[in-house]
């Protein structure tokens, strides 16, 4: 690291957790500041978490104090008081620890040019965690601006072990020039110990998340010092937490931590953990990043890990010391998940991690950023284009698209003369872009950021007219809250809460009893990666591995082999059979849940047109199961990849995916005001609905920038079209069709989810009529 710094090069350091990455990142800075004078800001440190920035500050001040250095270190996040923020601009510390969001706001201020002129280094921590997201897009654009303000700036990226450091070097470097980055690989410490929990050679048929093993997990917790129990979603966190407490005979202190809990609640749990007052904590990805939470000696992963990189990173949370092996125990939810767990363990052992999904930068993020830059200082469009193009995610940005983005940012993108007086950005006689009014800069600061939360309501404990009087427990999404009535109970933060009333954006609750609902959150489930999918197929076909598997799994595979067929290494197995007067079709695509969900939509649409009368479908990471009144005699015909684009375009346009994506790009792109968290416009409905705006745009401005941006997001993120397209090609070329006499072993997990999951995607209209009939029937008094 010191060598790279001395040579004036950028650097990317990859190292396992606990290897002292952060300190290594700061070493060149400390060395420079110790041996020379430097006025003003010298080094910027960017972390994805506010708490991490605070943590690092604490960790830095120790060696600085020990070395007797007079170096000033401060943090700047959304939590920093405004007077300190003002002082930081006027008299900055030498090292400033901040977040991407706070950096963006800082760079939108006119003082930023002076403040950043002397910056020598910018360190980005946990780069792998957010680099490929919109947050990463924004950060990359900010780096481009920093480089312009301080041309000699050295960039340093710190990352956990990743599969492709070269690509990350490209992301980090100005102009995506990976060669300008020195890659420093820290050799790993002890190999992780990953085990799979199997009890009595039995693995369940169906279900996810390993809740069946609560008792055994509790025993593991009791035998360890401090355990983190990772789950894949917030809803499951609540369920698992409850399950564990039901088995908690010794009343060991167990906490829960996820993104919808109030920050105070999360801080309390984190503090308890660090102070050694907890024995276990049930957590989602909210705890994924590298903070030093204390003496964790066991990581338990409930349900399949979905990716080898994720498994490795989570395992790394145990034993923050390099020399001791981190221990991880995977608890599979069903037999497929067992295979996935095994595949993940193999992948980690082989050092085969998951490729990162680099994508072109979001146009909505660019639009937001452009306004922020113009707020800082007048700028020429050409200079602006050159600057943003030097950010790796935007390396492929054409001048044409840039002009569209600029036009949108300035005018909203409409061809209407009447709107000229409302323009946000105006071009002066000197050819430079400026904001039309200072109020727009303030508005930008209030609404900047690339994270868009689903609309949420506050959960407030106790009565009282406002959340000032009650204790805020956290938030639930409006989607779930909309079905709650006074007297209903739901699970939250591990407790059963009963609704006592509503007040604007608040749900008032008290302790409750009985069978509670479990809040549903829109946050996506991560699908199984393609590499793991390949390995799972490999395991199914490698009979030498069967011997080492639990009896249940071995039996399952063996009978499948006899009764039907095992999925091959690269074919698509399709099974059809009749049951209870319905015809079922199982497609084992191993393409991940989103792709299978889209496949289900597509196939049932085609089946409808073919007169096969499809009734519904369910999707999992491994397979798609649909059922119909008529049998599918020629599945191959259904998989024709040629008209895919058109059908998908139609379906996507009508589905909620595009609208959801539009809401996000409309907020990030500055078309719609951001809902401040926990605040709802009460009384009259004066809010602007993104759905209605979407409809108007589709009608009048179908090529609008935000529609394009929404389309890109929906195609990529939500529906995994790429994986689906690949699956269709594969299915068309290499399909194995088995007409089974009855349900096959491999089909059982899917069959068990039918009835539990929502059934297909019938049109809104049909659902509405069905709901009316249902209610009318229920309310009948004869």
């Amino acid at each position: 690291m010191l060598a790279a710094a001395a040579g004036g090069r950028h650097a990317l350091l990859t190292a396992p957790t606990g290897a002292g990455k952060t300190l290594a990142g700061f070493l060149p800075t400390l060395a420079e500041l110790a041996t020379s004078d430097h006025e003003g800001l010298h080094t910027l440190y960017i972390s994805p978490l506010k708490a991490l920035a605070v943590d690092v500050q604490r960790n830095l001040l120790t060696p600085i104090g020990e070395m007797g250095l007079a170096i000033t270190v401060e943090t700047r996040t959304g939590d920093t008081p405004s007077d300190r923020k003002a002082r930081q601009k006027a008299r900055p510390p030498q090292i400033l620890l901040t977040t991407p969001e706070s950096l963006a706001i800082l760079l939108s201020a006119p003082e930023s040019a002076a403040m950043m002129a002397g910056v020598r280094r910018v360190i980005i921590d946990e780069i792998h965690a957010f680099g490929t997201t919109k947050r990463g897009d924004q950060l990359s654009l900010c780096l481009a601006r920093l480089q312009k303000l301080a041309p000699a700036l050295q960039r340093v990226g710190l990352s956990a072990t990743i599969s492709d450091p070269e690509s990350w070097a490209g992301w980090l470097a100005p102009d995506a020039d990976a060669g300008a980055v020195q890659i420093v690989r820290a050799e790993g410490g002890a190999d992780p110990r990953i085990e799979i929990l199997v009890i009595d050679d039995r693995i369940p048929w169906g279900g996810h998340n390993g809740r069946w093993a609560a008792r055994a997990v509790m025993q593991q917790i009791a035998a360890a010092r401090l355990a983190i129990v990772f789950v894949n979603t917030r809803a499951v966190a609540e369920l698992v937490f409850r399950d564990l407490w039901a088995e908690n005979d010794e009343a060991l202190p167990i906490g829960i931590h996820h993104g919808s809990l109030a920050p105070e609640a999360r801080r309390k749990v984190e503090a308890a953990m660090a102070a050694g007052r907890l024995r276990a904590i049930v957590a989602t990805a909210s705890l994924d990043l590298g903070l030093d939470w204390g003496d964790v000696d066991l990581v338990i992963q409930m349900g399949a890990p979905k990716g080898a990189s994720r498994l490795l990173q989570r395992t790394g949370r145990a034993n923050h010391r390099m020399d001791e092996a981190s221990r991880c125990l995977i608890v599979p939810g069903n037999r497929f998940e067992y295979l996935e767990a095994l595949a993940a363990r193999d992948a980690v052992a082989a050092g085969e991690l998951d490729p990162d999904g680099f994508r072109p930068g979001g146009l909505d993020v660019l639009a937001q950023h452009v306004v922020g830059l113009v707020a800082a200082a007048p700028v020429h469009p050409q200079a602006l284009y050159d600057e943003v193009k030097s950010a790796a995610p935007y390396a492929g940005l054409t001048r044409d698209v840039f002009d569209r983005v600029l036009d949108y940012a300035a005018t909203g993108g409409y061809a209407l003369k009447a709107y000229e007086r409302y323009q946000r950005i105006v071009t002066g006689r000197d050819g430079l872009l400026r904001l039309r009014t200072p109020a727009l800069a303030r508005q930008w600061r209030m609404n900047s950021g690339t994270i868009v939360e689903a609309v949420a309501m506050n959960v407030v404990f106790g009565s009282g007219k406002s959340s000032r009087h009650g204790r805020r427990l956290g938030q639930v999404e409006e989607y779930f809250a909309g079905q709650l009535r006074v007297g209903d109970s739901f699970m939250f933060a591990g407790q059963v809460l009963e609704v006592t009333g509503f007040d604007g954006a608040d749900i008032h609750v008290r302790m409750g009893r009985g069978s509670p609902k479990v809040p549903v959150y829109a946050g996506g489930r991560m699908p199984m990666t393609t590499r793991l999918a390949r390995r799972v197929r490999g395991l199914m076909n490698d009979r030498t591995r069967w011997a080492g598997m639990p009896d249940d799994v071995r039996e399952w595979l063996a009978i499948q082999d006899r009764v039907s067929q095992l999925p091959g290494l690269d074919d698509v197995l399709v099974e059809t059979f009749a049951r209870d007067g319905r015809w079922y079709m199982l497609v084992y695509g191993f393409a991940g849940h989103p792709a299978h969900q889209t496949l289900g939509m597509l196939l049932t649409q085609r089946m409808e047109r073919a007169g096969l009368q499809p009734l519904g479908f369910v999707a999992s990471d491994y397979a798609m199961a649909c059922w119909s009144l008529e049998p599918v005699d020629d599945p191959r015909a259904l998989f024709d990849p040629t008209v895919l684009e058109d059908e998908l375009a139609q379906w996507l346009a009508a589905s909620p995916f595009l609208r959801r994506a539009f809401r996000e790009v409309a907020i990030i792109g500055g078309l719609i005001e951001r809902m401040q968290p926990g605040v709802q416009k009460t009384g009259k409905a004066m809010s602007v609905s993104s759905d209605l705006i979407y409809d108007v745009l589709r009608r009048h401005e179908p090529d609008h920038l935000l529609l394009t941006a929404a389309w890109t997001d929906a195609r990529g993120k939500l529906t995994d079209i790429a994986r689906l397209a690949e699956l269709l090609e594969q299915a068309h070329d290499r399909m194995s069709h088995v007409r089974a006499a009855h349900v096959t072993p491999l089909a059982v997990p899917s069959m068990l989810t039918i009835g539990r999951e929502r059934v297909g995607e019938a049109a809104d209209s049909a659902l509405l009529r069905e709901a009316e009939a249902l209610i009318a029937e229920a309310m009948r008094v004869d």
């Binding site: 005018t411 909309g482 078309l671 409905a685 059934v759 809104d764 709901a771 249902l774």
Partner: protein, 225 residues
């Protein structure tokens, strides 16, 4: 393909656009047009698509042409703010003024626009009576006379089979009928919201037009609520 329901002994036809047609009086009712909402927001830095007003007007013209209307009543908040009429595009202004000349046009004043629409022709009043009905912008809980109003932008929110469906609806109780917002950009208020329930003052139902059918949902109770 028209559906109809009875309110205060009068046959009324709800239209898909959110208007209400009263054949006996050849009158069309619309509420909460919120003309020039987009330009109002644009002036504040939120560049919403400017087409909403034109769309709303087009829907209004469609409704007028589809019925043998002689009188058109706008139940308040016809403009998003008092200065709205000044921001109208010339063509829109002309079209509106032609309509106010050719029809018996009533602007009921709302809380947002008050009497701003007067410049465009037609009659402006806070409240009115028409046959057995009283017409006002916001429902008056103290008045037991059968009443037609707007203001609340009612919408039905249903969660069924894991899907969340929201539709503009008419909300009615024994003596009160609240129209949905006719304007293109106006968000809605859940019909189950306490404010709306209070306004309706008793057992109520939400009426949604779907395809050619009128669907009815009891409000404030039942598995969907």
């Amino acid at each position: 393909m028209s559906v109809s329901f009875s309110f205060a002994g009068e046959a009324c036809q709800p239209l898909a656009s959110g208007a209400l047609w009263w054949p006996a009086e050849s009158t069309l009712f619309v509420a909460d047009l919120h003309f020039e909402k987009a330009s109002h927001q644009a002036a504040r830095g939120w560049l919403l698509p400017p087409h909403a007003t034109a769309d709303t007007l087009a829907n209004l013209i469609d409704a007028v042409e589809a019925t043998a209307v002689q009188r058109l009543v706008c139940l308040g908040d016809s403009f998003h703010d008092r200065a709205g009429p000044d921001r109208l595009q010339p063509e829109t202004r002309r079209a509106l003024m032609m309509m106010t000349r050719n029809l018996d046009w009533w602007w009921i004043t709302g809380n947002h626009d008050e009497d701003a629409a007067a410049v465009l022709g037609g009659r402006v009043m806070r409240e009115a009576r028409l046959g057995p009905l009283v017409l006002r912008h916001e429902a008056d809980p103290a008045d037991a006379t059968p009443e037609l109003s707007g203001h609340f932008h009612p919408k039905l929110v249903i969660r069924h089979r894991g899907r969340h469906i929201a539709r503009r609806c008419f909300a009615r109780s024994a003596t009160k009928l609240i129209l949905p917002a006719f304007g293109a950009f106006t968000g809605g208020l859940d019909v189950a919201d306490p404010a709306l329930q209070a306004a309706l003052g008793g057992p109520a139902e939400a009426l949604v037009l779907d395809g050619g059918r009128l669907l009815r949902f009891p409000v404030g109770c039942g598995p969907h609520a």
